[in-house]
Subunit: 476 residues, 2 copies
């Protein structure tokens, strides 16, 4: 595992992780004052790391007077080294708890909101919804008094199975579908079923930042796979699969977030073959499938899968109604039963009201009309953003769908400073490093054109370009 660590895929160096592991437990009183701690050899075996790594962690604890050495025989808990338990500045929590970095950015209020890959609420048929929801209550008068089943409303799952068959060449029974509260819950549940601490997980670089955090929280070792305008380097993927036996590959091959790239059909087929050969689950996240500007994207990878080494996560929050938080997971039955067990304990089923509201709108002609307008509106917004950037030296590949532009700025623009100054001007965007499992991509940013109107887009982009220009001038 050491060589994987060498990639720097972990949040912090391994010896620091071991240090935290020990220090958390000392504070929690698992070892008392003057009690002997596990030997370097035992701990290295237990944690599956090199002895030197454990040694380093102990040295740091020793330097900080949290442990002491006696008779060359080992490390002991230093009296007083343990912090008082009620000093809650050192909260005593599971070491697997991760912060979600994207949600921190999203908490910043901004007039020029380029960080939300979320549909402008003004683009939804809000007036229609008000009368429509009343109909739902008339149709299901007891909907507020009823829990959903854990797997989700059967009527909805049947409707989705029909939709997937008609539109995406995905043929599967309603029992292979689970309804979740948004795709993020789907990723989290899958991670809880499939990933154990120290498991290798392939993840795109860049990718959806919350997915990075979820797999890290689960204790995974992340192996980044670059995504290019043409797709992936399949040889690299095969060599990773061969060498590290990754548990799964989390990927977003259609109008990829954040780059907008789409993996071509031929690679989808090849990827499924690789996954089956090396028994690595492909977890395909596909929120933007229907948000295309000109032509439909290739069918989901899941449609090529025959041996069950794929799962399909389909969020509808991007265009149906974000406020409902409805997503679906498709998965073969042998795994589905485990996913259901975790979902059952996680929240015992998503709210029924939301599923019923979603169901009838999703299957209505109203949505078809709405989608046509939506594609035009989003394409116009994208063009405005690109038009404003055409005066700069910034680089990007124009996407054929989705909500985002992945933009490279000149190296001389310090992204951290640009973000800080932007926030002061009420502009928000996602710095590339947040989308990068290696925390690099420092010249990149994700700009979403989906959330604010055309005038705000133009004004916000001009301000942002001006700010970046000033910083570039200062540093060149």
């Amino acid at each position: 595992m050491e060589s994987m660590m060498g990639h720097g895929t972990s949040a912090k160096p391994l010896s620091e992780q071991v240090y935290s592991y020990l220090w958390t437990r000392i504070q929690r009183g698992e070892w008392r004052e003057h009690q002997k701690l596990p030997s370097v050899r035992t701990l290295a075996a237990e944690l599956d790391v090199h002895r030197l790594t454990v040694f380093k962690a102990y040295q740091r604890l020793k330097d900080e007077k949290k442990v002491y050495v006696k008779d060359k025989s080992g490390y002991y808990v230093h009296p007083g080294g343990r912090l008082p338990f009620d000093d809650l500045e050192y909260p005593i929590v599971s070491s697997y708890v991760q912060n979600s970095h994207l949600s921190e950015i999203h908490r910043v209020p901004a007039a020029y909101q380029f960080s939300y890959a979320l549909l402008d609420p003004n683009l939804l048929p809000n007036r229609y919804f008000s009368a429509y929801v009343k109909d739902i209550f008339d149709r299901y008068p007891k909907v507020l008094g009823t829990y959903s089943t854990v797997q989700g409303d059967e009527e909805l799952r049947e409707a989705l199975a029909g939709f997937f068959a008609r539109h995406h060449r995905l043929h599967l029974p309603a029992d292979s579908i689970l309804i979740t509260t948004g795709s993020q819950q789907a990723i989290d549940l899958i991670a809880r079923v499939l990933v154990q601490p120290m498991d290798a997980v392939l993840i795109e670089r860049p990718t959806y930042s919350a997915a990075i955090d979820i797999f890290r929280q689960q204790g995974a070792q992340l192996l980044p796979v670059e995504i290019h305008p043409f797709g992936y380097d399949l040889e690299q993927i095969e060599s990773y699969m061969k060498r590290y036996k990754p548990r799964l590959f989390y990927l977003n091959p259609t109008f990829h977030n954040p780059t907008g790239y789409t993996v071509p059909a031929i690679q989808r087929k090849q990827l499924v073959e690789l996954a089956e050969r090396y028994r690595c689950f492909l977890i395909e996240d596909d929120p933007f499938h229907d948000i295309y500007f000109a032509q439909q994207p290739p069918a989901p990878l899941y449609s090529y899968s025959t041996e069950g080494y794929a799962a399909y996560i389909r969020s509808f929050s991007k265009y149906v109604a974000p406020g409902l938080r409805i997503a679906a997971v498709c998965m073969q039955p042998a795994l589905m039963k485990h996913l259901l067990a975790v979902k059952s304990l996680a929240d015992n089923g998503s709210p029924l009201l939301n599923q019923k509201i979603f169901l009838h709108y999703f299957t209505s002609d109203r949505l078809v009309q709405h989608m046509e307008k939506l594609r035009i509106a989003l394409n116009v917004r994208k063009s405005i953003m690109e038009e404003e950037m055409s005066t700069t030296t910034w680089k990007w590949k124009s996407p054929e769908g989705g909500f985002n532009l992945w933009v490279k700025l000149p190296d001389t623009v310090p992204m951290d400073v640009l973000l800080a100054e932007s926030i002061e001007q009420s502009i928000s965007f996602v710095p590339g490093a947040i989308c990068d499992p290696l925390k690099e991509s420092r010249s990149w940013m994700r700009l979403s054109y989906s959330y604010i109107n055309e005038k705000q887009l133009r004004d916000g982009m001009r301000l942002l370009i001006q700010l970046a220009g000033q910083l570039e001038g200062r540093n060149s």
Copy 2:
């Protein structure tokens, strides 16, 4: 930790757990064919179990020809012992995935539904809701286009803070409240923040069965604390806290599920003192607080807490509207920030629509009127159930609130057989063993009187009593 295992608190014997641990990893290819496995000594240290336990697990693997012994030097992976990966009858999933046993019982359809501790949908003001929800859309026209914040709608959190202060002597800022999708999500999130594998956790016996499953899923060692009509044995709790340093005590002290008992005010105060002395978090689940028949129960434990070693989970699904799935968690700020991080990754916030619908109904006069009727209706249903049982030798303590009767049948009635025969007669109930972390309580059952109407209650109880009588006759 061995002595804790001796209590039988774990789902299966420890050596079988070790066996599964090894076999799962062999199947996953963590050790290749003919590769040496960890020594008994190393593995015993790693898993913190006795060497004999590891030895037994290895013996079983050896007997099943999954490993072989060489030169007395150790255990090696047997070639061919490893199952083909695509034999998905042995799904390769995280060993922490637990089944939720209660949800299995709930999946059985039944005309005489005594297993749902859930309000009869006919007792909700359904007609009122239909017009009411339209008002919500008029008030928040973009509610379907908007995500909630991770912590939950601020307007709702302010309203709840006011409610807790007025009704429960709980004074806390809105920032100390998190909105979750039902109380089960709250328990799961708290477990993910506070509990690491092998942590000791105090849990009532009997208790809410999904909580047992959640803490087991997190890898906790459960220490059962008996709940009696008078409350707990505080000396036993103190000795557990002293000896095992439990991370938390999950408890439901008001109209307890399943027994209906209420822990008196004086014990609440003493428990908080114990928790603070031994730094054990009290996780108070309080879904039935407002479902009292005559007089209000004592204030929540949380209201006695000053040092932050308590959290309060308040579900409103029992009487406001189950279909909305709204619960609140109250917790001190230093822990709340970690809970928010986990919630952020788990689903990025509960749906806003549900929070807004809940908010206005919860603060309306309509709910006050509704509660008065509800208390009467539930009390009548409880009396009918008790009246029917008055002809039997069954034993129970009449609860002063809540939805459940905890009933002891004669020892000669085999509960498994009674459940099987009941299900055939379209009667469903919760067998006591499901609520027992020790899986005992075999003469007990939980009967909920909340879900079906008076006639169904009477008919169902007569049938159930008849079935039990026949079984008793057969076995005595």
